[in-house]
Amino acid sequence: MIQLGGSVVAVALLVAFVRWLGVARPTPPLDAASAKALLDVEFPDHRPKATWIASDGAGLIARDGELALVLYKRGDGYVARDLPWSAVASLKPTSGRVTVRVSDARPTFAVSDDVWPPKELA
């Protein structure tokens, strides 16, 4: 039990140390070029015709026909998911954010105006 307590403290200290001095990967806001590069890596077999980048640059939704390709930030990386375009089109942004439901997360995206779906994807 003492050993377990010590281990928990050691883990907490190490995590605090990482928070203080750890160097995460840089994730600058997405622009057209970095969005394309990310899509090419995560969805190499898709050729999305349109891409919408969240207004804070922390994610994107691209459309390939009836499929929505979603990339959202998790830590210092991006997670890729796809879902039917209809599930994305029917969302309603509230106070500048829209929440997408994927199997194991509910990422939110910043929208500049409450027009949805965004004109880039419509």
Binding site: V8, V11, L14, V15, G22, V23, P44, G75, V102, A105
Partner: protein, 300 residues
């Protein structure tokens, strides 16, 4: 001897902590490539801590079974003989290779081992991201033949520990390549980066524990190429930082698929087929991902 007088992994823990601190500092001061993200590290370390607890819980059953098998051993191998240690070094490492290959190529065992591969980082803390459900998956059974041959359970346990300690230091981007002769024989940071990569080119490769020779012998060796840097994690990366999701997500996935299976044959496919297997082939396995990748680079 039945019970090991010491556990190499327990002895190495202070060294693990110091090495992680050092790697973080090297990364901070630009002396080496080392990325650490807070929640990613927290998950890796929590997995490590939890796996030692799970090890205690399952340890009794594993130990009792091993001793039971040892009592029916073919030979009596002395723990004091040098040749016996040389033999157990090679045989344990060969066992590890096949355990690890099974853990990647069949979903039931992948469900447990996937835990080790969910980090999108590759640093020393990733080494401590160990499964909690290995006892359930039963992969420890693969080491029983060593006890049946006559290697004392303590000897096998110590060698398993040595292997795990060896594999700690190779989880780093701070080391580029080791000398050529070393890369030829031993598992190295470069070889194991490939093993943790999700690039189609690198999938299902380099299952080695200490010696890379097994991959070279059995055709699963893929070298790291500088033109294609490794991207880490699983083919479908975790969507969140929930610890329990990390531990159980593939088990839950299997249960859901089996519940929806239309025949016993389908259910068996979902449990014992390769990860990503589906009756209609609509999901990706590492084979289909590699085939698509080959087609892409062929056309480009």
């Amino acid at each position: 001897m039945l019970k090991a007088p010491f556990d190499p992994v327990q002895l190495a823990i202070p060294f693990f902590v110091l090495a992680i601190v050092l790697e973080i500092l090297l990364g901070r001061f630009g002396k080496a490539k080392a990325n650490y993200e807070t929640r990613d590290t927290a998950m890796s370390l929590s997995m490590g801590l939890g796996s030692t607890i799970a090890g205690v819980v399952f340890g009794g059953v594993v130990f009792a079974t091993t001793v039971g098998v040892y009592q029916h051993r073919l030979f009596t191998i002395p723990m004091t003989a040098v040749w016996a240690w040389v033999a157990v070094f090679f045989l344990e490492d060969l066992t590890y290779y096949w355990f690890h290959r099974l853990a990647h190529e069949r979903r039931f065992w992948w469900a447990s081992h996937v835990n080790h591969h969910t980090s999108t980082h590759y640093n020393l803390s990733t080494a401590l991201r160990q499964t909690w459900t290995g006892g359930v998956a039963g992969t420890w059974l693969l080491w029983l033949p060593l006890s049946f041959l006559g290697f004392p359970p303590a000897m096998v346990a110590i060698q398993k520990g040595i292997s795990l300690v060896y594999q700690f230091w190779i989880h780093t981007e701070a080391v580029g390549r080791m000398p050529r002769w070393f890369e030829a024989v031993f598992n190295t940071p470069s070889h194991h980066r490939v093993h943790h990569a999700r690039n189609p080119r690198y999938l299902d490769a380099n299952y080695a524990g200490i010696l890379i020779i097994w991959d070279r012998m059995f055709g699963t060796f893929i070298p790291e190429v500088d033109e294609e840097p490794c991207r880490y994690g699983t083919v479908k990366n975790l969507g969140n930082f929930n610890l329990l999701h990390n531990v159980f997500h593939e088990w839950v996935g299997i249960a859901k698929d089996v519940a929806g299976a239309k025949s016993p044959k389908e259910a068996l496919g979902y449990v014992f087929g390769p990860p990503g297997w589906s009756p209609d082939g609509s999901r990706d396995t590492s084979h289909t991902l590699k085939a698509k990748w080959r087609a892409r680079v062929g056309f480009e």
